[in-house]
Symmetry: C2
Subunit: 198 residues, 2 copies
């Protein structure tokens, strides 16, 4: 005997999610069976609704339930600065900071020749199009500090600099609250390189 | 700005599951947005269906989509032996072994005075009722090898033994493939205690 069909379907569903293997999936599925019926229905509805109602903003490609998204629509935000990020989650992280008042552009990926991802596969052409109406004066490239993110930043910088728009890259260095002792060499050398006068 | 509402609802849904905190929930939610629409719908349906279609078997309390469950209905199985387990997952584990041909009784818990769980809160009264028609000759108590499981086993044994039904407990000892060096003292002492002649 295996699991009854409804439960094995649920286990399969959980197993499609990242980082969830057969054991965790079974544990979660059995947990769901003990949950309140109402909560399970809400969760099921939330899944379907999230997929159905969310799209990418036609301007900045950020995930949104309105188009254009609330950030692109917000008239109080500075339209002269665009922060380029790899992922919608990065926008959320930036917004939590509550300091950046410009706009965003979400690439949904980074250039990675190894994986066959070129500039046309992420939203770089859309970004270039956004720069044509001359309102944008600065591009802050906040792609991830790894090989793909750096390559993407370099690519964008080379493409955009000739147009006269300022292109900057977020600083690399020691995380606040971190410990110098435990920092890796590359981070440390970046921290020294980017030192600022006090 | 926070997450758009459909996604924050989905994150909340994931956070209700055990072992999933806000960061993992957000990661899973964003993953869902990138999944195929069809897969997401199937998953949502599986959630609701599992909750709606599964009940506990009225005989053995195992999770099932038919009542009585397939094991209780199976005429080829030995009705003289009942294996008592704490959880439906334990039935699945036993069935994977493909050796035990008796029936089961799922307690859905174990006696735990600390948590206020007594014999009436788990399915012990149902078990006693099952023993009354004299078909059952042996009870194999396969509750977990921890304090609650042992207490439950002792309780059941004391209750059932006077009726003349044989009560046995699954063996404790070194797991197959394990290493004596890494075994804890209690397991090792149980392994010595339960030694068998070769």
């Amino acid at each position: 005997m295996q699991y009854p069909e409804p439960i094995s379907k649920l286990i399969e569903g959980f197993m499609r999610l990242p980082g969830i293997g057969p054991k965790t999936a079974a544990r979660l599925a059995f947990y769901v069976l003990d949950m309140k019926e109402e909560d399970v229905f809400d969760f099921g509805k939330a899944l379907v609704n999230a997929k159905r109602e969310l799209t990418h903003c036609s301007i900045c490609q950020h995930i949104t339930d309105t188009d254009p998204c609330r950030i692109c629509e917000d008239q109080t935000r500075d339209r002269s600065v665009i922060c380029v990020v790899q992922d919608s989650k990065d926008v959320i992280a930036m917004e939590k900071m509550q300091e950046f008042r410009g706009q965003y552009h979400v690439l949904h990926g980074a250039i990675s020749p190894v994986d066959g991802i070129g500039p046309e596969d992420i939203h770089i052409p859309d970004l270039i199009k956004r720069l044509q109406d001359e309102t944008v004066q600065e591009l802050i490239v906040a792609t991830n500090p790894n090989i793909e993110g750096e390559a993407t930043a370099m690519y964008i910088s080379r493409l955009v600099k000739p147009t006269g728009i300022k292109v900057s890259r977020i600083a690399h260095g020691l995380p606040v609250g971190g410990d110098l002792e435990y920092a890796d060499e590359v981070t440390l050398s970046k921290a020294i390189e980017g030192r600022q006068e006090l």
